[in-house]
Amino acid sequence: MVFAAIRPDSWNPALFVHVLAGMVLVGVLVFGAVALAAPARHHSARLRRFGFRSLLFAGLPAYVALFVSGEWLTSKEGLGGEDDPAWFIIGIAVGDLTGLLLAVSLVLLGIASWKSKARLGRVAGAFVSLALVLCVVGVWAMTAKPS
């Protein structure tokens, strides 16, 4: 038998926004990965456009909410100093890399949708898939909290 970690109630709103935003971001990334990384014969301009709009109008706001609520939690937990635990450092690294991949994917997909370039759309799909893998690593770091 074990005891679960208890946190103050005042952290709950920030945690709620953080978890919900992460879940929505994962959903958008799954859509992007499946729709964009599909074989060429299934890879239509419509799916590329929808992938781009999903990332822009749902993925990007979810990432911003994830980032802001993460900063909110960091300030409440008193983290962000010199002796930060490993799980926090992994979380920050995963968050920054995911943001970078999201930004690159958006730019590539914007060009791919505008210029009808299927190959560029698949490259963006690969970046989105990588961001999705990073999100799973982030969930592991936030829940298992390796020290």
């Binding site: 005891f3 709620f16 499946v34 299934h42």
Partner: protein
């Protein structure tokens, strides 16, 4: 990693798969609405299939590892009010989610009500899991 760490990770990963699938299906519903030709909806079949798999994996992982966690952790009991509320809401979310996926496969428009009901149930579960009222 301890057993508790693994259970929590797998439980939360299942929740991410479930809410991720709901988000994905919502995008598919909007995409199907905007598709003017049947071929436009057919293009989304692969994405819908993955959404269905994610719903299946997510629902199974959340309930199995969630109940296991309630048994493993000293502070919680499976018959605690907030745990029972989560199980009831989970059952509602699963059934409405299943109907939403079926409706999307059948054409899209009738899925909205079921999708909203499933999303609302999952949102309340998330509130319940974070605040744990009565725990």
């Amino acid at each position: 990693m301890s057993l508790y760490d693994w259970l929590l990770f797998l439980h939360v990963l299942g929740a991410f798969a479930l809410v991720g699938a709901l988000t994905l299906i919502s995008i598919v519903i909007v995409a199907a609405w905007r598709a003017e030709r049947p071929s436009g909806i057919a293009e989304l079949a692969g994405v819908t299939r993955v959404g269905g798999w994610l719903v299946g994996a997510g629902t199974l992982m959340t309930i199995v590892f969630g109940v296991w966690l309630a048994i493993e952790v000293d502070q919680y009991r499976v018959w605690d009010g907030w745990v029972i509320a989560a199980i009831v809401l989970w059952a509602m979310a699963v059934e409405t989610g299943r109907r939403a996926v079926d409706a999307v496969r059948g054409g899209g428009r009738p899925a909205v009500g079921m999708q909203l009901a499933s999303s609302a149930a999952v949102l309340v579960i998330l509130v319940d899991m974070i605040w744990k009222p009565g725990a």
